[in-house]
Symmetry: D2
Subunit: 151 residues, 4 copies
């Protein structure tokens, strides 16, 4: 049992049901945020930095979104609502965009290969948690009026 799971179990009004899913998603998010920041920095130091602009930008975006999602999730122990739901969705989109970009030159830069894998794992974990909290009705306050205007 990792530190964050141990910690969440001490919360006075914890939802035991999703606790492990929350802890695992938190681990995936903080790892992904850190790896994306490191990938941005490594890309910036590469000789061909001029070809890695989009990658750096998406790395920074994904690091930002994963970090914010983690900081929200750690507070959603009692009852995940529409905010955490929409933020998890944004995180899935950010991980997908960053993984796609990193994968496209994973053969040239090992840091991009690792970053793509980490983003994929984080995306799967966020998607899984979205499914879990939707199925249990804890995010039931999301209604069609709040879905994105484009969909």
């Amino acid at each position: 049992m990792g530190t964050i799971e141990t910690m969440l179990r001490r919360h006075p009004r914890i939802d035991e049901h999703h606790l492990r899913d929350f802890a695992e998603t938190l681990d995936a998010l903080t790892s992904c945020a850190e790896v994306c920041s490191a990938c941005a920095d490594a890309c910036l130091a590469e000789e061909q930095v001029a070809k890695l602009r989009t990658c750096i930008s998406l790395n920074l975006d994904c690091a930002e979104v994963c970090g914010a999602t983690a900081r929200l999730l750690v507070r959603q122990t009692e009852m995940p609502g529409p905010v955490v739901h929409a933020q998890l969705h944004a995180c899935v989109v950010a991980c997908q965009a960053c993984a796609d970009e990193c994968e496209s030159h994973a053969g040239m830069h090992d840091h991009c290969r690792i970053c793509a894998e980490t983003c994929h794992r984080c995306q799967e974990q966020c998607n899984y948690l979205l499914g879990e909290i939707s199925a249990s009705g804890t995010a039931e306050r999301v209604d069609p009026l709040e879905s994105p205007p484009l969909s």
Copy 2:
């Protein structure tokens, strides 16, 4: 013309078309993030803090989401894509949730009244920008498969 607009105009590959909309949304987001953090701190100092738990939590969430959205937006000057779109949507949801909660006791705490108004302005601005970037097709890479699973 505010500092951030002046700054964005110096970007070597700026999309002039949406520049003012971006600058105004950035101002709304940074103001909202700051006001929500201040409201959380003020609620925490109120005598009846025990009744303001949900408000503090939503304040902190909204501050987090607005801050992350601003940090993304400042990098989306060339071509806003699906990540900024999904994050703007999450921000609309966070502002709505925080405004609703603050409004419910706006009569008792003036900081909650101001926070509700600030969240509403930020939500409107984000919604407006979502409409603008959708209409111009700059966010066209968002497809139905990426919409939230619940909608």
Copy 3:
């Protein structure tokens, strides 16, 4: 009177004495964080990005440090202590480093010139606030043992 000052005045246990200084420093910090992020993005889009690596890195650092300092400051309305003091000091160092780097090529990139000016203003404001809270004894809990090991 700006939004954040209006908001701080609604805090139930505000320290009236430093309120305006806090509000002005918060404005300088949020502006500096935003401008530094925008400068990093503009540098990344420049043709000679390979020569702007250090600038991008210091921009991102300064944006991060100013943002964190602002989020701390908004919560220090009652009694600024050693944490806010040390963080304000880190912010002065970050603004100095970023301003120095941006200034060195301010003639070539207008966004770097504006960024250098913004960092200088933020640094002065943080230094001023440090002096104010030190003089009033509100940060008196900082003792020599907590100063950096190198000094």
Copy 4:
């Protein structure tokens, strides 16, 4: 070897010498940021929340400072300079303040006991890294003029 260490080893211009110290400090910082956020949320849910105001505030500060320090550190792979030095120092101060407060009621709340321990570990790790980068001269650009005005 953890993910972040694996990742840092792929950086094209890594300083091998301090790599493991950086990776271990990053792990301590991200863990501390997460645990402090969780402690703030747990304190807010406690019946006697009114007595935990200072703890919540210091938890949020420490989470913020540790998070910012980690995001800086991940970019300091080539040459740690005065900014990371000052930020590590601020982090030591924040961890100390949070640990002291949490320890004072560790007997009543197990989440505060775990948080105090986590802050202490993070503080030690930051202090150790400060010593390492000072000894190796990589932070040699810090000079007395940049030390805190109070010391």
